[in-house]
Structure formats: structure tokens, C-alpha cells
Amino acid sequence: MTPFTKIPKQIEDELSRRNFLQSAGMLVVSLSPLASLAQTAGAQTPAAAPGAAGPYPDPNYKQLDSWIVIHQDNTATFYVGKTDCGQGTGTSFRQMMSDELDIAYDKTSLIMGSTDVTVDQGGSGGSDAIQTDGWPMRRVAAEARRVLLEMASQRLGTPVDQLAVSDGVVAVKADPSKRVTYGELVGGKRFNVALTGNNVDATTGLAKVKTVQELKMVGQSPQRYDIPPKVDGSLKWAVDVKAPGMVHARNVKPPVAGAKLVSIDTSSVQALPGFVKVVSKGNYVAVVCEREEQAINAAKQIKVNWEKPATAPFPASEDLFKYMRAAKPTSVGRPSVVGNPDAALAGAAKVIEAEYDVPFQGHTAISPAHAMADPSNGQMTIYSNDMKSYGMRNGVAEFLGMPREQVRVVWMEGPQGYGRTAADDAGFEAAFLAKELGRPVRVQWMRQEETAWDTKGPAFTFKLRGGLDAQGNLIAFDYDSQAADYNHVGYNEADTVLIAQLMGIRRNPPNAGGGATPNEMYVIPNRRMSSQVVSLPLVWETPLRTGNLRDPNGPQVTFASESFIDELAAAAKADPVEFRLKLLTAGTADDAQFKRARSIACVKAAAAAYGWDARLSPKTVGSGNILTGRGIAYSFRSQTVVAEIAEVEVNRRTGHVWVKRLVCAHDCGLVINPQSLRRTVECGMLHSVSRALHEEVTFDTEKVTSLDWNSHPTLTHMDAPAKIDVVLVNGDPNPNRPDLPHYGAGETTCKPTLAAVANAIYDATGVRIRRVPFRDARVLAALKAAGV
């Protein structure tokens, strides 16, 4: 038995759930479909606790019991293979599944993302939880309802079509006194119902899901169940997990990117209090001590000799864009071409060109990477906030050379995911050290380590050209970009996580991130979009490794494309909203999921909510110190469409920009929980305001130099807007259709914000800022250069 004394409540629940499933599953062939838990549990010695001791086979997604358990008290627990990065998806899953199961929302609970008790739905990524994974969740809950109705039909001696179900109680329509609860039908027992589907996304039973009109909880805003324990201090997070005998580790990173470990002077730390061991392999070095503060101190004290690399690992950040523009691409995307852009540009009445730059931006999570790994019983359990816990399980098993069944990841709450924990280094490190030491090991990175070495959103350079005819119509659009994204590490692979890199393990070739081009529905008759990937000199063991930062390339690309559309609108002497609507409504027959119609609806809704008065931009620059302006930008991600308007105040004396007001018109189809969606949209926009105004990874030719909250500034309370309006749009031409889909909403709002702010600065000042971030000094210099 795993020797925990302080097992978090959620883990206890998971463990007992696992015991139930495993013990029942072992005896399934000899039992009737309604084998009781008591019978099956009786075959086990409770103290043996096989769930805790392992091994940990994969839950079978083709078994209804893997998804839903009905308890004798007529409550239900749902088990899903997703994680919640703080957007309230867990609450939304419960709403969707409660609705399909026909059980009261407050009689349900949800377990997420632990590899031994929930089926592998991939954890989080791509904002697909509601859009993709919500469907199998709905279908299995509908199937459970169907099975329960059949059971009730047998029990009550009444055909199913003469039964009604509400809040987990099945009653005879003609005589509601004849009734039976779900708990009485199957509470504490297995369904033993097989599901079908070639993959987990396709999982289904025989039942059909409800129509939108039949859904009751979907569309309501129950409060997120995870918030009360987060504000009273009772929630156990991944950072809080402890185990008897647990020791603490801290990493010792190379002081210069690409440096080689020459030697370690262990005597520099072995006399320190609590010292346990120095562990090193390749260029990976960690110090382990009994107590946390001892490990922190030892990692500071340890003397390590490193050899600098012969060549500089990267250019200094101030030379980055020059380097990128001159670099030979490592890969060239096949350009997407419509019409003849070169001929159209040659014949255009007016041609404008612009270049834009976006630096590397980090995740810089509020808590550095962390995990605790326990090697008890010859297994490996990792307590982690990894958003892709299933990927980590596979990666760690491969990395340690352990069978998958001996490795499990228990997902727990942690600091914002947004992609960082899809390349979760600390979990791998904790597992490696736990195996080395044979003791539970907790690893946590330090702030400077996290800010320097976390995964980065790739830097981009852009060149755009546009051509207008004599009437101001946009007839040609030419987009070209370079992304510094040669070795992209977003997926917990055993040969890409940082500890593997430092140990000399190499994927060949690296995962190239690929270039990126804008996605909008504008109808432009002649158009070319091309993209290239460029590499910095140091490919591996670099703090400038790229990963998935909340819509991996969207904020960068949309900054350039939607700023440039604004530049074209100004050149065409058109209002920015009208200019966009003209491009959107030019119309084509291609409108899958009504994305064009919904785009038009969002742009119009944002303008209406803001109170947009049509006029040219920039407006006449005022005479006071504070200049105000507004800007719009539009984009979509997958099927979710957004239009955003930013209103800014620019201080002419200091260059300081305050985003005073934000409006977002947001169409993600069927909304599950309007309130949590609004919060996600508010914060998603502000995340990108932070990227617009503050964030940049700086480095010299040896190392990252933005290391903490002073050298790497972020949005603060002082930046909070005075007003945010979120308009939830249903732009479907048939808004009441019974099969209205639910699309993802975790990242789309991050895309247009940078451009909306830049366009607002232009509107206020007549000065176009084409380089992110718009820090005071940069804006002030641009204002001065323009004589504003």
C-alpha cells in the first residue's frame, strides 16, 4: 500500500473508485450485469488496496462503468480524461453530463485527468474540451440514462415510453407514485454495458443525445465547484502533496545555454544540513535535501564547473529580428495562393507595405514547475498539474524504461496551464530522481529558473503588402512570416522534455513548429500567404525552446494581419469596421458551420456594444496629454469567432498606454455556462493585453536575462480596464436549431487583442506601433519620432 498519510480527498476518491473498478472488472465474467459492489469487493482484502499499489492498467473507454458511477444515495460521479486549467471546464462537463443523464447537477461530482481512473481523452489542449470531448461525455451519459430507463421498465413492469425521468427518479407517467431512483436501480453496482467507437472521441452507446431545447443545465451558470475550496484554503493542490520519507530537490541549470558539465564539487554541499545527494546525468544536475529550504540553499551553494559552448547559442534579443530575417529557413511552408497577387499589386492604384515583429514571450506561470513522484511498490506515481497527464504518463514510462502499467499520473490543480504544463519538465525530473533515490521526491523550480527556462511562444517577423484599386477596394494581400520555432516541445515526449535534452537525448529531426498564416474570412481576390521556420544556432538544451503558449501562434499572426488590415482601411480612407464588413460580406459559397455569417454577426455585435461611430482612423489628435482612441480586430480559432474592440488612453508625455475598455463579441455556438465563459473571455483578453503591453523574453548571447517580475514585467492591477463588455453571440442563421454545436472558447479571445490595442493606439495618436510589446519607452519614442 502506498504509504501516504496525507492523501488529498480527491485522490482518496480516485483510489476507492479505482479499487471498485478493478476489483469488479476482475470478476466480470462470472457475474451478472448487476453484480453488486459488495460481492466483488468481498473478493478483495480491503487492506490490500490494489488501486494504490498498482499496477495501473488503462481504464477501458468502451465500458460505461469507466465514465459514470451511480451511488446508492442516488448521486453520480463522472470520470473524464480532461483537465481544467482554470476556465471552469469541469463545471461545464458536469452540466452537460447531468443534463444527458437527467440527474440534478448538485447530485453529481466529477473526477478529471488521473491516468488510472479516467479514460485517456488527452488532457487539455487546443481548447477542444467542450468542442470535441464534450460529445462522448454527453453520449455516454445519455447511454446511462437509456440503460437506467430499461432497468426501470423491468422493475416497474412498464414500457419505457410510458416512463418519465427527472432528477434521477424514474416514474410511471400515468401513476407517478410508481417510481424508482437511479440509486435503487444500479447504486453501488456496475452497469457492465459495452460502448462502441473506434477511438475515445467516437465513444457512443445506443442512445441519442438530447436536442438543445431539451437541455436544462446547459446554458445556466452554476457557480464553479472548484472556487470555494480555492478561496478558503482547503483545496490540496499538486504543490501540497507530501509523503512520508519525501525529500526535496532543486535543479542546477547551466549558467550559459548549451554549456557542458565538467565537474561537480560535491564537498561544497555535502556538509550542509539535510543534504541527501547530488544527482547528475549528462548536463542535468539536481541537489536533494531533506527539507525544502535546505535544497534551495544547497542549489545556491553547490560549485559546478561548466564549459561554455564554442559558439553563441543565439543572437542577443535586440538583434533577434535582424537575425531571423536574414536566416536561411529550415522549412518553407507551401504558400497558399488565390488569384495573381503579383500582377494585382503591380496594377494597384495604391500599394502599402509594413513589417511587424513579435518577440519570444514566456508562459511565466505564477508558480514555477513542480511535481512529486513516489516510487513505492516498484511503481511510479506522479502527482502533477500536468494538463496532458496521459502524455506525461507515457513519456515518463518511456523515459524511465518502465512498463506503462507501472506508471500513473494523478492530476491535481495547479497554476495556469496555457500550454506550459504540456511540456511538464518537473514531473519527469521528480520521477527520475524518485527512481534514483528510491524515495518520494518533490521537485519545484525557482522563479528565475522558470522565467528563463520555461517554454516560449515563438518569436515572429512579418512582411505584408496590400494593394487597393482606385475605389479603395482591397484587391491584393501578400503575407509572409518567419517563426523562430524550429524545435517545438509541447507534448511531454520522452525525447523532448528538458531533462532529456540535458541528458543528451535527441529527437531527430526535432519537432518543427511550422509557420503560421492568418485565418479570417475576408474575401480578397488576389492573395498569397507564405510562412517559414527559422532556427537559432542552439537547437537543444536552450531556454528559448518553444512550446504551446495559449493559441500557439494566433496572437502573433493576428497582431500582424489585423494591424495591417487597419493600415489598409486607413489607406482606403474607410472606417475600420466598415472596411472589415465589406471584406466579410463580399461573400462566397464556402461557409462551413456558418463561420462567415457568424463572423459578420460578431463584428457587428462588437461595434454595437461599443457604440462605434463610423469615421476614419486616426481621429484628430487632441492637444492634451491624454490621447484616446479605439481599435477593432477580428479572428477565429477552429469554429469559434471573436471580434474585439479596445479603447486606450495614451499618455503623450510618458508613452504609457492604458487599455481603458474592452469589448468582445464571442460566438462559440452553444454556450454551456455563460458566466464561466464570460470570465474566461475577460481573462483571455487581458492575458493578451499583458502580451501587448509588457511581455518580452530578453537575452544576451549566452542566456536569458528576463528572470523575475522586475526584469519580466506583467500586467498588474494598475492596468485593469475600467470596463469590459462580453457579448455572447449566436450568429447561426438558424439560432434555434436543435443540434447547435458547442465550440471551444479557451484561446480564441487571445488572438485579436494585440492588434485591437495597436489599432486603438493608432486611432489615438496617428502612430502605428509595429513591434510588440508596446512598453512606455517604445511608444514614447514612436510618438516623438512622429512629432506627436
Partner: protein
């Protein structure tokens, strides 16, 4: 190592520790508290904030030996099972995204309103300015502080009385 006595959330604990240890690690690892959290270890972000004699203090850079007064952590804000008005406002406004920083946000706001229950919007922004949130919940935090403030002022001073030794 030396014996140190700490008063935390109404209880008293005597520990044999290295007195230079930052208070954060003692609270988390020896006393099992999980409201204060490590964010930077530099006193820059506020995730580790506790109240010491009512003063918001960054426990990650505070040597335990320097603590002479009662410590209140997030766990100590509720009284008799009733959440502090700020905690309730946080729920009512559905403030957190991931929630990791919210300990510091709530504790800083608590000290701010205790000192100045009628803080203006500008004073709230300035008072909270050094407490960081990387999910960018600032707008909603400020709404929650104002909601709690309204309730506290309406209920009179009794609602915010904190027993501090």
C-alpha cells in the same frame, strides 16, 4: 536549530527549526498550511502573503525568527464556519481562473479594507498593484473587493473585526 513559538490562526505551535528559514516553508511544510504558496521567493508576486499582526507580509522572504506577532493565513479568515466577506465576494463574482495566486489577492485585500474600509477605486488598484495574477483576473478581483467593501460598510465595523493577539 532553535525552538521557536508561532501563533497561527488562533493556535500556538512550538517548533525546533533553523530560525533563518523563510516563514513560508515553516507554514507549508511543518504546519501543513496550504493557503500561502511559493510563487517567486523574491517578495515580488504576493502568492505567499500572510497577515502578521494585520500587516500583509511576504512570507517567502520573511525569516521565521523575525515573526513576533500573530500570523493569519487564508485558512484563518473564516470565523465560525462563515467565510470572510471577501471570500464570499470572490465566490459571488466567480473571480479565480486557476486560483493559484488568489491567496495573495484575498489577504492583500483583507489588509487593505481593514485599514481603509472606504478605499476608493484608485486606492484599491494601488493597494493591490504588487500582487500579481498570471490568469489576469484583476478586473474581476477589483469588482469583488468593491462588492465585499459594500457589504462590509453596510454591515458596519463588526463584520471586519479581526481578533489579533
Amino acid at each position: 536549530m532553535s525552538k521557536i513559538t508561532l501563533k497561527v490562526n488562533g493556535g500556538t505551535h512550538t517548533l525546533d527549526i533553523d530560525p533563518s528559514t523563510p516563514l513560508l516553508y515553516i507554514l507549508r511544510n511543518d504546519l501543513g498550511l496550504q493557503g500561502p504558496r511559493f510563487g517567486c521567493g523574491l517578495g515580488q508576486c504576493g502568492a505567499c502573503t500572510v497577515l502578521i499582526n494585520g500587516v500583509p507580509t511576504r512570507s517567502c522572504i520573511t525569516p521565521t525568527s523575525a515573526v513576533k506577532s500573530e500570523i493569519t493565513t487564508l485558512e484563518g479568515l473564516a470565523k465560525n464556519g462563515v467565510l470572510h466577506p471577501l471570500q464570499q465576494a470572490w465566490i459571488d463574482e466567480q473571480v479565480p481562473q486557476c486560483g493559484f495566486c488568489q491567496n495573495g489577492q484575498i489577504m492583500t485585500a483583507k489588509a487593505l479594507l481593514d485599514k481603509n474600509p472606504r478605499a476608493t477605486d484608485a486606492q484599491i488598484r494601488e493597494g493591490m498593484a504588487r500582487t500579481l495574477c498570471r490568469c489576469m483576473t484583476y478586473y474581476r478581483i477589483q469588482a469583488a473587493v468593491k462588492l465585499a467593501q459594500k457589504r462590509i460598510v453596510a454591515e458596519g465595523p463588526a463584520a471586519v473585526t479581526e481578533v489579533v493577539a
